[in-house]
Symmetry: C2
Subunit: 323 residues, 2 copies
């Protein structure tokens, strides 16, 4: 949560003037998103989100993200839609940063998801996967299996500062994943970061998905595995199979999982847990003490990984056997 | 700029439900205000600001601030107005903090004020002083002359870490102020912190004043001196007499300054510069390196103080002589 780039009122007004949305009525930096700076800008036409892309986002990827949001919105998914300026551009520059204006989405994110929320997110994820099919651009997942060991190598000698033995655990897990990672499953556009803070609800109905800044082309079922990690564990790190069942049922009602995808779930879930363990551990070690961002505990994902390592069968996630 | 207290969706929804404003459509932590946590909450009735009062605010003072905003709004001043819940209360509790909901004010604050903005803020300050007259509650200024030396004593041995000789400069200035501080000028409700970020404009017209959390009873002309410091210096720390004249003309058009107030301006301006120098120096030394708040440079106020020390006559601020 941070505003990395301060935008002066005159700069902002002249930037927004290019969109033909009327005068700026107010703008406030909002404490959401750890990668970029976001302002809630209200004009005569209503509220919008203005995003300034900060250094952590590869600038070459921004056109992909914006085009994807446009594609998904056109396909009927409720997500922020880039606004185009009078020249038809969806990407500009403000305060020395690439900047885009997107529509504002009503809704709040659920801090303690219940089973019905898990069902809804499963369904929305499947709709996202289907909607992504017609999208013509491609982005490699910058955090896929092949990237995990190089990332680990950048901080492996300091992992024991987080927890004794953590380095050895990661090392052994990487060896398993590198040997047994599922191959040849269906690929397509994945969100790759569909955590509760990226899913809005209104009156307990899912109202939209946000934050497509990790979206990429990768194994669709891996995205399901990310959601099992993100939505179905309790605060004591136990896996809630009722939530898992609801999420998978919601998903498969829209896009059935193949038998290959089903049996791959335990390994994909291990991989997803390790991916978040790695980035959180890296951030834990490398976030300067004076950063504006609160660090997230990597060990939450070690606990999840331990669960997945003990899973014997995809039924342990609550998936219904094919009748 | 910070969100010190995270509020969960369920807590927030049940808190807002007590106000009869319809369901919460969205809420975002906003990166404004260094003392409190602020959320922009939108319900079916429109946007509101939710403030959670953090430790730096003396809780006993909150009813004063809320009653003052209600009084000023009733008196025709455009400022956030506390919303009362179904039980008629304007102060509740949320996430373990005292919390209040106030109306949302359109407008943006001006990063580089021009002369016309200074004129408008002078006029608005005078209107605030007049509107405060009928207010029945009283709050001592917690940062008046008598408080400056005790505050200085808490960090005087570390001032030279900010700038060599700073401690001696403050010491000498305090001696002058303690000897020559103007007495017996008209008192009343003052804002005490009317910096550009607390004044909103729409289309270059002043649309409202915010942040009354330093408001108190004190010398009215001291509030004018604060504004001269806050609005009329250029980025190179030179005093812009055109802006000073505009601010004073705007003020006196609504509330004339007595001859005693006019001649006191140089000393009041020195005091105001020292007050902000002291709190910024204290914060500079005491803000932990991992704080979510960016520190403000105290030396900006040393530069202003130097200007005021050299002022021979109130005409140097641009005040018109009484005809």
């Amino acid at each position: 949560m941070a505003v990395y780039t301060e935008v002066a009122d005159e700069e902002l007004q002249s930037f927004i003037a290019g969109y033909g949305l009327g005068p700026v009525m107010s703008y406030k930096g909002i404490a959401e998103g750890v990668e970029n700076t976001n302002y809630l800008v209200t004009t005569a036409k209503g509220p919008f989100i203005l995003t300034l892309y900060e250094k952590r986002v590869a600038l070459g990827d921004v056109p992909f993200f914006l085009a994807l949001m446009e594609h998904l919105a056109r396909s009927g998914l409720n997500c922020p839609t880039p606004v185009r300026d009078a020249q038809g551009r969806n990407l500009g520059e403000l305060a020395g940063r690439p900047a885009a204006l997107v529509t504002f989405l009503d809704g709040v994110w659920i801090r303690r998801p219940r089973t019905e929320h898990c069902a809804a997110v499963g369904e929305a994820l499947a709709r996202l996967h289907l909607a992504g099919k017609g999208f013509g651009m491609h982005r490699r997942n910058a955090l896929r299996l092949e990237d995990w060991r190089p990332l680990f190598d950048r901080f492996r000698d300091r992992t024991d500062a987080i927890a004794p033995g953590l380095g050895a655990t990661i090392d052994a897990e990487l060896a398993v994943l590198e040997r047994d990672w599922p191959q040849n499953l269906e690929t397509g556009i994945i969100h790759a970061d569909l955590f509760p803070d990226n899913v809005f609800f209104l009156d307990n109905k899912l109202s939209g998905l946000i934050d497509f800044y990790f979206a990429c082309n990768d194994t669709l079922a891996y995205d399901v595995a990310v959601c099992l990690n993100a939505w179905c564990f309790e605060p004591d790190y136990s896996f809630n199979i009722t939530k898992g069942r609801a999420l998978l049922k919601g998903y498969t009602a829209v896009r059935p999982l193949s038998s290959g995808e089903r049996s791959a779930l335990p390994m994909l879930a291990r991989g997803a847990a390790l991916r978040f363990l790695l980035t959180r551990a890296y951030d834990w070690i490398n976030t300067p003490a004076d950063a504006l961002v609160r660090r997230k505990d990597p060990l939450e994902y070690l606990r999840r990984l331990r669960f997945h390592q003990a899973v014997a069968h995809e039924r342990d996630y609550g998936i219904e056997d094919a009748a």
